[in-house]
């Protein structure tokens, strides 16, 4: 019941957020000079008028706003201007899984690498492992992912020829971008895990657990890891936001046909409908992810109450 109320409330706020984003970007877009109908060749006035009528661009702005808002509410973003064979919904339906796959893999990389190195660092505190892992973690946080991508391309694509240069549709092609996407977050997670574990391992009940004769492995994995999980889960919210934006760049470098590519192209080419669709999808995605993280947080920590 409580969960239901929480979700309902959040849903309400999501509607507000989406509406704000919609309104801001709608008026921003319509005031940018240059329109979606500009092409290499100049349209004759008649053709132009036709096309404007087709896309309802000739109506007064307020009318366009409400029509578009109503359609958006019905989840119909309309046809794409620059991908004329598709509706925006179809473009998003194709792009979203690609970005999602990249994001999920990036996240899995981040969590697995981050938590493993964090645990090792915590257990072997002040050892060479600890220092080098923490150094690497800071490095991962500091280096922007496109610099990392360029470096990895030179090493793994040009020199070692282990991966293809770019593209999508093959397991080989997903590893490099996913790794670059996950690297900064792996760094953060490693540090959070280490801190969380050190805090837990200093507690009395850990000593009790050791005293009971539990093996160090059990103690570390069962109790220590649980302590480290909290900060990591609470970090997932911002991490997801970061993954979303990070994939913009990586999709561009590695030529991945995901949402990010669609959005940037749409913004540059003034594809009003597609840009709007992608923007709102990102908003909803971010909101849903944040909500899920809050839910997960309340699940693993009984002290947290949903509000």
């Amino acid at each position: 019941m409580q969960v239901l109320m929480f979700l309902l409330k959040r849903f309400g706020w999501m509607i507000v957020t989406v509406w704000i984003v919609f309104t801001i970007s709608f008026f921003l877009m319509r005031h940018i000079p240059g329109g979606p109908l500009n092409g290499e060749r100049v349209l004759s006035e008649a053709v132009r008028a036709r096309l404007e009528a087709r896309y309802n661009l000739d109506a007064p702005l307020s009318e366009q706003y409400f029509t578009h808002l109503w359609n958006t509410m019905r989840l119909d973003f309309g046809p794409s201007f620059k991908l004329q064979d598709y509706t925006v919904n179809e473009v998003l339906a194709q792009g979203l899984p690609v970005s999602a796959a990249l994001g999920i893999l990036g996240m899995v990389f981040a969590i697995s690498i981050g938590m493993t190195s964090g645990v090792i660092s915590a257990v072997r505190r002040n050892s060479v492992y600890d220092y080098s892992f923490m150094l690497l973690a800071t490095l991962g946080i500091a280096i922007p992912n496109f610099v990392l991508a360029a470096m990895l391309i030179v090493i793994f694509v040009f020199n070692l020829q282990m991966f293809p240069a770019a593209g999508w549709g093959d397991l080989n092609q997903i590893i490099l971008p996913a790794f670059c996407l996950g690297a900064p977050f792996a760094g953060y997670i490693a540090r959070l895990t280490r801190t969380g574990m050190l805090e837990v391992l200093g507690n009395d009940y850990i000593r009790t657990a050791y005293a009971k004769g539990l093996s160090p492995r059990t103690v570390v994995l069962k109790h220590g890891l649980r302590g480290a999980l909290l900060p990591v889960v609470s970090y997932l919210g911002p991490a997801i936001a970061g993954i979303l934006t990070g994939s913009l760049v990586l999709e561009r470098i590695f030529v991945i046909p995901g949402m990010g590519s669609h959005f940037i192209e749409a913004a540059i080419q003034r594809d009003y409908t597609l840009a709007m669709g992608a923007l709102l999808t990102y908003t909803v995605l971010l909101f849903v992810m944040n909500t899920m993280v809050d839910l997960a947080y309340s699940i693993i920590d009984p002290r947290v109450k949903l509000e």
Binding site: G39, V42, P79, D85, T87, V108, A166, V255, A296, I300
Partner: protein, 653 residues
């Protein structure tokens, strides 16, 4: 529940991660295609009637086939370029031209088939061309067919009283979908009722579906003859209740019977009276306004490729292009399409010449980054790269897989002749002569481009280009002084506009330096992002602007008819009665040699007045894997996919 989740949270998380990784990894892997090339960008559409660009052309030419096909044919010229010619090696196996050069009769081959097995007939072409011209299609290229009798009347709804008209009722079987059309009645326009004051205003307000040539509110009184009886009816393309129409009704109530005014979709010039006709199943006849020697080239051009009517009517204007729905008549079929990733084409077994199509599958990629594209080519992921980056061209040039040749395209600067001091032809000529075009070609673009001394590129059949002078600083200075600006004194700053891409900035900067150094002219640069750039150019808010033009066909007309007075692509505000006359005269000249002479005269006018400054002629730059056979350097940089094959012996690169 929560308790359970709490206990097993880490395990749940792991499971979730595992499942999503498996899902992500399995996301639509495709088996590799036999031939992969980079098309440079995502195609805007694969509907022939709506497409406009070169990348679109490559795909559409593979999926569809017109009456004729432009193919490399004949012996290479002195630059190693194979000429391209429109030949009846496509849907038509033969065509005839009447003696006066105005009637073309195409014979469609008997084994021409759509990919679903339906025969391709003359009716398909007539219908497709009708759709292409139809105002509701709003095809950007529709002017390509305006050579046919009455075609522009049909497209622009340019109606006079007495014209034959077709009226489409508002009873379309699928609402909101253009085809199948509603009931069409054929009659004769008796009267066209319009408000008196704005009779002449040009632009359509966009609300009416009929307007275009006809602006604003209009009532069409149409007369029908059936079995000897004559009936008349009044139509409007707007809502009958609308204020404007009611005002019209009140104004004309006394003269005409408007009590049964009906709202309809369209009142158009009757297509049956347009010079495009299916005479029989195989005979397709086109009647032109004037002899147009390059008409075969237009017929081979992809906007005029036919579309399959049943599938279009079934799936609608957009859905019919989807893989699975698309029925084509070209050498390839659309198997799969991933937006901004690739189009997968496979061989079409129903193609009339399928036995000579060698590639089984082709991937068309949409990579925009030139560097990435080249990397993928060098990495073996691509077989054909269409645009290697300028920086690396000197290195690439030495390789045997670098295929490059000048083709029919010109890089030039538009000069806005309405802005002083550029309204003075002497100034424009001086600016032209002060540019070291050779240096631009050698140091910036580097691909072996040809410095341009004319606007029409060399290589047009039987055409010798005009001439606008060499790089000559002394002469340029003299011209500028003659114009009243000795040593550039008193000349305001000239602004060069360019779009943010490629080497435009570099070229602009070299020219800036040339003008400053040679003429003492101050130059500022202004770069705009593509969309804004086009807008600025269109409204004429510029002084000098970077431009480029690729010839649609191998005839000077494709370059020269741009600059007629108020031509939509003129954009320089330049206007010359003599020039307009020349272009018009060339249309009706049937003697090729005389025609070319007229064009040369016109181009010379253009070069003397210099509303444009030609910089260089493009070269095609292709990286093609040596295992690919059948790839020829040609004049229009067209490389039909069905002519290519893979030599597996040369596979190890």
């Amino acid at each position: 529940m929560v308790r359970f989740l709490r206990k097993y949270f880490p395990i749940c998380l792991l499971l979730l991660a595992g499942v999503s990784v498996i899902w992500a990894v399995n996301l639509g892997t495709l088996p590799p295609a036999e031939f992969v090339f980079n098309n440079g960008t995502e195609v805007k559409t694969i509907d022939p009637a709506k497409a406009t660009g070169v990348p679109e052309g490559r795909v559409i030419n593979a999926l569809y086939e017109g009456l004729l096909r432009s193919v490399p044919d004949g012996d290479p010229d002195e630059l190693g370029r194979t000429p391209t010619k429109p030949k009846a090696v496509a849907m038509a196996d033969d065509y005839r031209v009447s003696n006066d050069g105005t009637v073309y009769t195409f014979h469609i081959r008997d084994n021409a088939k759509w990919s679903n097995g339906d025969p391709v007939t003359a009716v398909d072409f007539a219908w497709s061309w009708m759709r292409f011209l139809h105002p509701e299609t709003a095809s950007e290229y529709n002017y390509q067919l305006f050579y046919a009798v009455n075609a522009s009347k049909f497209a622009f709804v340019d109606l006079q009283e007495g014209d034959p008209v077709e009226v489409e009722m508002k009873d379309r079987p699928v609402p909101g979908q253009m085809f199948p059309r509603g009931t069409v009645r054929h009659g004769r326009l008796v009267s066209l009722l319009q408000p008196h004051d704005d009779h002449q205003s040009a632009a359509d307000d966009g609300h009416g579906h009929g307007g275009g040539g006809i602006s604003g509110a209009a009532i069409f009184v149409v007369e029908f003859q059936q079995d000897g009886t004559v009936t008349t009816a009044a139509y409007t393309t707007q809502a009958v209740e609308s204020e404007e129409i009611q005002a019209l009704v009140n104004a004309y109530q006394g003269e005409y019977d408007l009590s049964e005014l009906t709202s309809v979709e369209h009142v158009l010039f009757d297509f049956e009276h347009v010079g495009i006709k299916a005479i029989s199943r195989n005979e397709f006849e086109v009647t032109l306004n004037s002899p147009t020697p390059y008409f075969p080239e237009l017929v081979a051009f992809y906007p005029l490729h036919p579309v399959h009517r049943p599938s279009l009517e079934k799936y609608g204007d957009r859905e019919f292009t989807k893989p699975g729905n698309l029925v084509g008549n070209g050498p390839f079929l659309l198997k799969e399409r991933r937006i901004r990733d690739r189009l997968r084409l496979v061989k079409n077994d129903q193609y009339w010449n399928a036995e000579n199509v060698h590639l089984e599958s082709v991937d068309v990629l949409a990579i925009q980054s030139e560097t990435t594209s080249l990397n993928m080519y060098l990495n073996g992921q691509l077989d054909w790269d269409t645009k290697p980056p300028n920086t690396l061209i000197p290195l690439l040039k030495q390789r045997e897989d670098f295929v490059s040749t000048p083709f029919l395209a010109c890089y030039f600067y538009r000069v806005n002749t309405s802005k002083p001091p550029l309204d003075n032809p002497l100034v424009r000529k001086a600016l032209n002569m002060a540019i070291d075009k050779q240096s631009i070609v050698d140091n910036i673009v580097k691909g072996g481009q040809i410095p341009a001394r004319s606007f029409v590129p060399p290589g047009m059949n039987g055409y010798e280009s005009a001439y606008c002078g060499e790089y000559n600083v002394q002469e340029a200075k003299r011209l500028l002084a003659e114009a009243g600006y000795p040593n550039g004194q008193g000349l305001p700053t000239i602004e060069i506009l360019y779009n943010t891409a490629d080497s435009h900035r570099d070229i602009a900067e070299v020219i800036q330096q040339d003008w400053k150094k040679n003429l003492g002219v101050d130059v500022s640069l202004r770069n705009l992002e593509w969309g804004t750039f086009l807008d600025t150019l269109r409204v004429g808010d510029y002084m000098v602007s970077r431009s480029g033009w690729i010839g649609d066909y191998a005839d000077p007309n494709t370059f020269l008819d741009m600059f007629v007075t108020d031509g939509p692509n003129n954009q320089t505000k330049w206007s010359s009665r003599a020039y307009d006359n020349d272009i018009e005269r060339a249309k009706y000249e049937s003697d090729p040699a005389k025609r070319m002479a007229i064009f040369k005269e016109a181009e010379q006018r253009l070069m003397d007045e210099q509303p444009i400054i030609p910089i260089y002629f493009y070269v095609s730059l292709n990286m093609v894997n040596t295992r690919v056979k059948g790839f020829s350097a040609n004049l229009q940089d067209v490389h039909p996919l069905h002519l290519l094959s893979i030599d597996s012996r040369g596979a190890e690169d």
